[in-house]
Amino acid sequence: MSTPSDIPISDLPHENQGWIDSLTDRVADLGGVVLDALAEVGSMSLFAWRMFTWLFSRLPPRGTLTPSFYQIGVLSLPVVALTGTFIGMVLAVQSFAQFRMLGMETRMGAVINMSLVRELGPVLAATMLAGRVGSSMAAELGTMRVTEQIDALSSMGANPIHYLVVPRFLGCLLLIPALTIMADFMGMVGAGLFSIHLLGVDSHHYMENTRQFVSHFDLFVGVFKSLFFGGAIALIGCHRGFHCNPGAEGVGRAATSAFVLSFVAILFLDLMLGIVLDAVYYSIWPEAPKLF
């Protein structure tokens, strides 16, 4: 192996030349990353387009829908319920001291339940779904890709998007509202029981404040947002699986990237939908107090 002292001085790059080369290399690397990201967005958009054309032309066989719905909805319920309960209790613990200092413990119900219904319920249910279902979809479909089972489906005249992706998309889209409501409900129960029975907050005022401040529109906002989260989780998980690289490493990467991308998509969609739904809210109730 040659050391820097072995290299003839004439072969060493000129100082300025080296600086320009290093800069162009970095620009090229950055360009490569941007192009890869654009290609990924394009590939995902085409995948979603193909899925929607199949979704609106023909429903998949019932035999494919039932297992997907069971896997996505029924098997996710316990973990979503458990997470919701604990988050409700944690919120109660964290907010109690602050509210007590102000002598406003009974307002805890309004704040905790509003946070749960508008943000934490839908985001938690979606995160759990991305971790439990999104990555498992990517791993399952990735394994099917690697072992040529997806090609086998195509070779037998069954469209893999119609057969594999549409049922998973429908499962996530239609069942995530139920999971969100479950997370909301269990969070409220957890926070309520903890606040009233363990922290000694007055139950009547806790409930009354909740009823006064948490509206149907807040519940609608959470459930409506969850539809987008569910759709994104299914599309990202299935897309990662369909474009999985060969081998065990490829399947592992597909599963990991499905979760990471889904999580980023959930947070991004949450922000965008939050802004849009706020605008809708103020267009319906213009007299409501505004942030800005």
Binding site: D151, M156, G157
Partner: protein, 275 residues
């Protein structure tokens, strides 16, 4: 769209591959390949690993798109079909994958019945009857019906894959290395099954293999592909196209080397790389 040149010849080939090129990134796998397969023919495509045999097979069924050139099936250019039409067209094909590609989540019976349930509206009893008959044809007893693919040996999986591929009585059967990974006896069983399939059904077959015994035993015609990276710019990728009995007398030494299994310059390359 009708393939004009072939109709003029009087007898239209079932598969016509015209100046086919397939490139993945910078890797050119197939280059300017021309091949015509007549109805009823059994063609063995041979060549060393990485020469593009499987890619050729997947391009014939439309699982891979050509980078250049075209693939015609029964006078129709596959590129002119939309996704839905191509899906329908594939009912006329049967494909035996290298590792059988059985669906893990289904039993053997569900795997074999899959194409029937997908494309035919038949009573359940008739589907079961057909599944049992197809499995019997490939020499598998009734007690495998309820088993999962993971519980079967490699040879049994291949036979289930063959039963599934044949269940809709396809016009064109594509076999991707049907004997790879099997013991010599099971390889011969698969070869016999390919022959008996041809006797029972009027099927055209393309068999991708590097097993010369399979090529000699089942093929009417052998086509040898050579890796495009090793060819000179003006050389065709198909080094040999003729009956199996003439392949050993081929003029090109690269063909005879492959048939006899002689490494020669590959060994030299290996020695050069090592030191």
């Amino acid at each position: 769209m009708v393939h004009a040149s072939s109709t003029a010849a009087g007898r239209r080939p079932l598969v016509s591959i015209e100046r086919l090129g397939v490139t993945f990134g910078r890797n050119c796998v197939l280059r300017d390949v021309r091949l015509r397969i007549q109805r009823g023919e059994t063609v063995a495509v041979i060549g060393e690993s990485g020469c593009g045999k499987t890619v050729l097979l997947k391009t014939i069924i439309g699982l891979l798109n050509p980078t250049s050139g075209s693939v015609w099936f029964d006078g129709q250019d596959l590129a002119s079909l939309n996704e839905r039409e191509l899906t329908q067209q594939r009912i006329r094909y049967g494909f035996l994958f290298q590792q059988a590609a059985l669906f893990d989540s289904m039993t053997v019976a569900q795997n074999v019945a899959f194409p029937l349930r997908q494309h035919r509206t038949l009573p359940e009893a008739e589907i079961q009857q057909t599944v049992v008959a197809r499995l019997a044809e490939v020499g598998l007893p009734d007690n495998v019906l309820g088993k999962r693919p993971a519980e079967l040996s490699g040879g049994m999986r291949k036979r289930v894959g063959l039963a599934r591929a044949l269940v809709l009585e396809p016009e064109l059967m594509l076999y991707d290395e049907p004997t790879t990974g099997l013991d010599p006896i099971m390889s011969d069983v698969i070869n016999e099954l390919i022959l008996s399939t041809r006797k029972k059904h009027p099927v055209t077959s393309v068999i991708v293999t590097h097993d010369m015994r399979t090529a000699h035993k089942v093929a009417d015609r052998v086509v040898m592909l050579y890796p495009s990276a090793r060819l000179k710019p003006d050389e065709p990728q198909v080094l040999f196209d003729g009956p199996p009995e003439t392949i050993e007398k081929a003029d090109d030494p690269r063909v005879t080397q492959f048939v006899r299994g002689e490494a020669r310059e590959r060994l030299m390359e290996l020695h050069q790389q090592n030191g």
